[in-house]
């Protein structure tokens, strides 16, 4: 398959959340979250009441995919940053570790300049974390079955039937 599966364990998940939490605080943002390029939310920090994060994740990924397509059409590799300015709230979108989308939602308590600055710092931190994730996945693959037993190796037809009976 073209993209490897993303597998996330507690340790890295916690590190990601810590990094997002710090970014939110340092940039005075309302919400900070991470989405994979296929539209699946990885983690989010901040005030999410009244925010449909699942829809937000899917639309963000669609937005980035469309913008990537536009970039290639005119001969650019990508547009590394997207910024949408509203009357009250603004969205800053950037790519980390080549495969993940970082979204920052902020209002007048912050500024584009501050968000940019802090995003840059958070990006290198997140790059490192995702490198660890990739390495860990590779390790797991190579010493397959030694320690790691997938919980899904035992899935049965009955398990799947049960999903649809509720």
């Amino acid at each position: 398959m073209s993209t490897p599966d993303l597998v996330l364990y507690d340790e890295e998940f916690q590190k990601i959340k810590d990094a997002l939490g710090r970014l939110r605080q340092d940039s005075n943002a309302n919400v900070v979250f991470l989405v994979d390029k296929n539209g699946q939310q990885i983690a989010a920090m901040g005030d999410m009441t009244n925010l449909d994060t699942t829809s937000l994740a899917s639309l963000t990924a669609g937005n980035v995919a469309a913008t990537d397509g536009l970039a290639r059409l005119i001969g650019e590799k990508e547009f590394s940053i997207l910024f949408h300015e509203g009357e009250k709230d603004n969205i800053h979108i950037s790519i980390v570790a080549q495969r993940v989308i970082l979204v920052v939602i902020f209002d007048e308590r912050s500024s584009l300049g501050l968000v940019r600055l802090r995003v840059r710092r958070a990006t290198s931190e997140l790059d490192r974390i995702f490198e660890e994730i990739t390495e860990k996945a590779a390790r797991e693959k190579s010493n397959l079955s030694v320690e790691f037993e997938s919980p899904f190796s035992e899935i049965t037809d009955d398990d799947i039937d049960r999903l649809f009976s509720e």
Partner: protein, 194 residues
């Protein structure tokens, strides 16, 4: 690309409904949306034109329950059917885990069905997938119409690998959940191999 989150104990999978324009992809999602209890679904998002034609995609997130203690979350997408939206279709196939091909049973749409399957094959290949390997289900929709081609004839023309096949009438829900279940089953069974 299945996203397995051991920390949150979640599995996220992406299913794409593919097929020619007006074959009933959006109607499939609409029916699933209408019949799913509110706690298990998110918003149905449609990026459509003013005349209700899908412009970029429809999107429906669905929580199906748990498997082996993991919450299974399916993200259902449809693609725009019209030929000139090929660039969008390609984007939506990124990271796909399973495909439902919705065929229009009307005689007059048989060529459009075949063309759309060829397009799917090509676009999957461009994204690094192989249609003969990826979880795949075939649906014959609009069985209620008098001009519907007999199912065995459609199967002869459209089946590519003996994939599970379902007759459907999407507006009333006939075959809709059977189709979804069949593709979900294949996607989850794929996890066993990993």
């Amino acid at each position: 690309m299945t996203f397995i989150n051991y920390a949150a104990r979640e599995i996220n999978c992406k299913i794409v409904y593919y097929g020619p324009g007006l074959c009933g992809k959006t109607t499939n999602l609409q029916y699933i949306y209408d019949r799913t209890n509110p706690a298990a679904k998110g918003k149905l998002i449609s990026l459509a034109t003013e005349t209700d034609r899908t412009l970029f995609f429809d999107f429906l997130p669905l929580d199906l329950g748990t498997v082996k203690g993991f919450k299974t979350r399916f993200h259902l997408y449809t693609v725009p059917g019209q030929v000139f939206y090929d660039a969008s279709r390609k984007l939506i196939l990124k990271g796909v885990d399973g495909v439902v091909f919705v065929a229009d049973s009307q005689e007059a749409r048989m060529e459009a069905n075949a063309e759309s399957i060829r397009n799917l094959d090509k676009n999957l290949k461009d994204q690094g997938y192989d249609i003969s390997v990826i979880p795949y289900v075939l649906q014959f929709n609009k069985r209620d119409l008098p001009t519907a081609v007999p199912s065995d004839e459609m199967y002869r023309q459209l089946n590519i690998k003996g994939e599970p096949t379902f007759e459907a009438t999407a507006p009333t829900g006939v075959g809709v959940f059977d189709t979804l279940k069949a593709v979900a089953r294949q996607v989850l069974m794929e996890l066993k191999k990993k």
